[in-house]
């Protein structure tokens, strides 16, 4: 097991008319090769910002304020713009949320794939490049004929698989998939996830799956990271997360899950996600937390390892383990 991705103290701020919004506030994360990490949280918790920041694709008014994203020993944040262009797709790749909107409607699928390879490799022959594209399409269970098709000729699940095929063309070390299945129905969702699973094993990369579907996380990932208001609340293995969540927010997330046993029982999480412009003091979850203490209102809890191996940012778990 080698470490392929290390995120150190990543910070992103959006400068808006109504003030500064801290979208990412010092996030630390490590990922080994072949590992699958799920990044969960409510909308606005910073999941997508995290993905975009790792790709250095944050646009104004957002800015990456600091931190490192180390992929295979290289800090992406230290690269020049041109080197970063090269690193995208070959080192780290991003599968966007709405697949149907991310393909060019007036270009054939094949042309878009060839473009992606040519941007990184100007030496290979045309036929070699096309062959690579066809192989990538086959590896995501699409026919070779898809190469000549347009996006509108494909169904949602097929478009999503085309995006995966483009993502793996250059065999990256890290794949970030941002809610790859949120617009798809369950059967297609399973096909897409099985595809990601298989290509991940084929090329031995690490996967970060972003989403809010805990059921999907449970079935797919090895590790779960729960985000809340731009910080990590808890990072633990999927087994620990589902059997013994530590952070009160993670506990609420887990108990809000529907199952076959408790029919008709709904547990929402009380309160609303905080606005990033007016974050509560101390622990940002304290206004919604059932175990709130005095210290939570003043001091930001650090992410630390608790007995059992999970990393939790909560004052309920004492400093000394």
């Amino acid at each position: 097991m080698t470490t392929v991705l290390q995120v150190n103290n990543l910070q992103v701020t959006y400068y808006t008319d109504s003030g500064r919004a801290r979208a990412l506030d010092g996030v630390n994360l490590t990922l080994n090769s072949g590992e699958k990490l799920g990044l969960v949280g409510e909308s606005g918790s910073g999941k997508s910002t995290m993905a975009l920041a790792m790709m250095r694709m944050i646009k104004l008014p957002g800015r990456i304020e600091g931190g490192q994203v180390i992929v295979d020993g290289n800090d992406l944040m230290a690269l020049s713009e041109e080197e970063m262009l090269n690193a995208r797709l070959s080192e780290i790749t991003y599968i966007p949320q709405g697949a149907m909107n991310s393909l060019n409607p007036v270009m054939r699928i094949g042309a878009q794939m060839v473009d992606a390879i040519k941007a990184h490799d100007s030496k290979s022959s045309k036929s070699a490049i096309e062959e690579r594209c066809m192989e990538a399409l086959e590896s995501v269970d699409l026919g070779r004929n898809v190469f000549r098709m347009f996006a509108h000729e494909l169904s949602g699940g097929m478009k999503q698989r085309v995006c995966i095929a483009i993502g793996i063309l250059l065999k990256p070390s890290v794949i970030i998939a941002d809610e790859p299945t949120s617009a798809l129905d369950v059967v297609t969702q399973r096909q897409v996830m099985e595809t990601i699973d298989r290509v991940q094993k084929d090329i031995g990369c690490a996967v970060i799956l972003i989403g809010h579907d805990m059921g999907l996380m449970c079935q797919f990932v090895d590790k779960v990271a729960v985000m809340y208001a731009g910080r990590l609340a808890e990072v633990s293995t999927v087994r620990q997360m589902f059997s013994d969540p530590k952070h009160p927010y993670a506990q609420a997330l887990i108990s809000s899950l529907p199952s076959l046993e408790n029919k008709g029982v709904f547990h929402g999480i009380p309160g609303l996600a905080p606005s990033l412009l007016r974050l509560p003091s101390g622990c940002t979850f304290h206004p919604r937390c059932p175990h709130v203490m005095e210290v939570c209102k003043t001091t930001v809890p650090a992410l630390r390892t608790v007995p059992g191996g999970a990393q939790v940012a909560c004052h309920l778990y004492p400093e000394k383990a």
Binding site: S43, D185, V187, Q191, G215, Q219, L260
Partner: protein
């Protein structure tokens, strides 16, 4: 027993092409009854392309069926005129999938809610209208003082979706058609919206047709379920029975594909046989034939509906030993 809503052998075909006419059957021969005296929640489930939304559009009278009839309180909804049509429009309400797309961004919540009040003359004075709005917002768990006067962009997706429900509730509907109402909102807010829908059914006597591809929420909210695949009813019955003990291979595939948040359950034990790209409609047989792992010779002919128990029926020859039941009598199997 008076029927609130009756569907008699409803079929909807979309045809395209001027010279070479090709057509797609979005819904074929669906019959359904909803009883007026017992408000219920009925789920219509299926993947994309199964005809769920076509059914919603038909029920709302937005499109006309190609054949068959839809009756509301005994009257064909496409024949309604004048006063009757207005009543139908008021009593049958809808909540759609995307809470971000349905609001005019220039209108405040007040305006959005007061338009239906004025249109249907629900209030005699401004004060009464205001009271009605506040009551509806409170009923869906929103604080009127935080919501009224705001613009849609100032509200979260979950809040907007609840305003949709509030708007529908305001008109005291008898029937609510909820087309994927929670698929666009966060998991933590889903629970709130589903709870709101259920309260509506219990406390206000509203019947709900819940259209979804998410069988988990369907299981939690509804009493009965109809599973559609490419326009045909595959399985129907009591939601507990159908989800815990699915009999049609398609229902099994659907249920097997749900990623349950349970580490002891393996995801996807049955294999998905065919990819959707290989699916083209061939012949008149079972619609699921191309993907069915149990396909047999007899499946080339359309399977009738077989009654498996008092509250379950499946349209599959695997159950050919069970007695047949006419599609018109489907509703008898659905518990209220």
């Amino acid at each position: 027993m008076a029927a609130l809503l009756e569907l008699n052998n409803v079929t909807k075909t979309y045809s395209r092409g001027l010279v070479s006419r090709s057509s797609t059957t979005a819904l074929s021969n669906v019959s359904l009854n909803l009883d007026e005296s017992e408000p219920t929640i009925l789920t219509v489930a299926g993947e994309s392309g199964s005809g769920k939304t076509t059914l919603a559009m038909l029920l709302l009278g937005f499109i006309n069926p190609t054949s068959g009839q839809i009756r509301y309180k005994g009257q064909d909804i496409n024949q309604l005129r004048g006063e009757d049509r207005l009543t139908f429009r008021r009593e049958v309400q809808a909540v759609f999938q995307d809470p971000f797309a349905v609001f005019n961004p220039f209108y405040t919540v007040d305006h959005l809610l007061s338009v239906p009040i004025e249109r249907f003359k629900m209030a005699k004075s401004k004060n009464e209208a205001r009271e009605k709005m506040e009551e509806a917002l409170t009923a869906v768990g929103l604080r009127p003082e935080d919501t009224l006067g705001r613009f849609p962009h100032q509200l979260s997706g979950g809040q907007r979706q609840r305003i949709n429900v509030a708007r529908a509730l305001l008109l005291r509907p008898r029937l609510l058609i909820a087309d994927e109402p929670v698929s666009m909102v966060d998991a933590s807010l889903r629970a709130n919206i589903l709870e709101t829908l259920r309260t509506l059914q219990r406390n206000y006597g509203v019947s709900i047709i819940y259209i979804t591809h998410d069988l988990t929420t369907a299981f939690h909210i509804s009493k009965s379920i109809i599973v559609l695949y490419r326009g045909g009813v595959m399985e129907a019955g009591d939601v507990d029975t159908v989800i815990k003990n699915p009999q049609h291979p398609y229902t099994r595939l659907l249920i097997d594909s749900i990623p349950w948040p349970d580490l002891n359950r393996r995801w996807g034990e049955t294999e998905i046989k065919a990819r959707e790209s290989e699916l083209t409609s061939k012949g008149t047989g079972c619609k699921f034939l191309g993907r069915c792992p149990f396909a047999m010779e007899i499946c080339q002919t359309p399977p009738p509906l077989f009654q498996l128990s008092a509250h379950q029926a499946a349209s599959c020859f695997l159950h050919a030993k069970s007695p047949e039941i006419e599609p018109e009598r489907l509703s008898e199997l659905l518990p209220a």
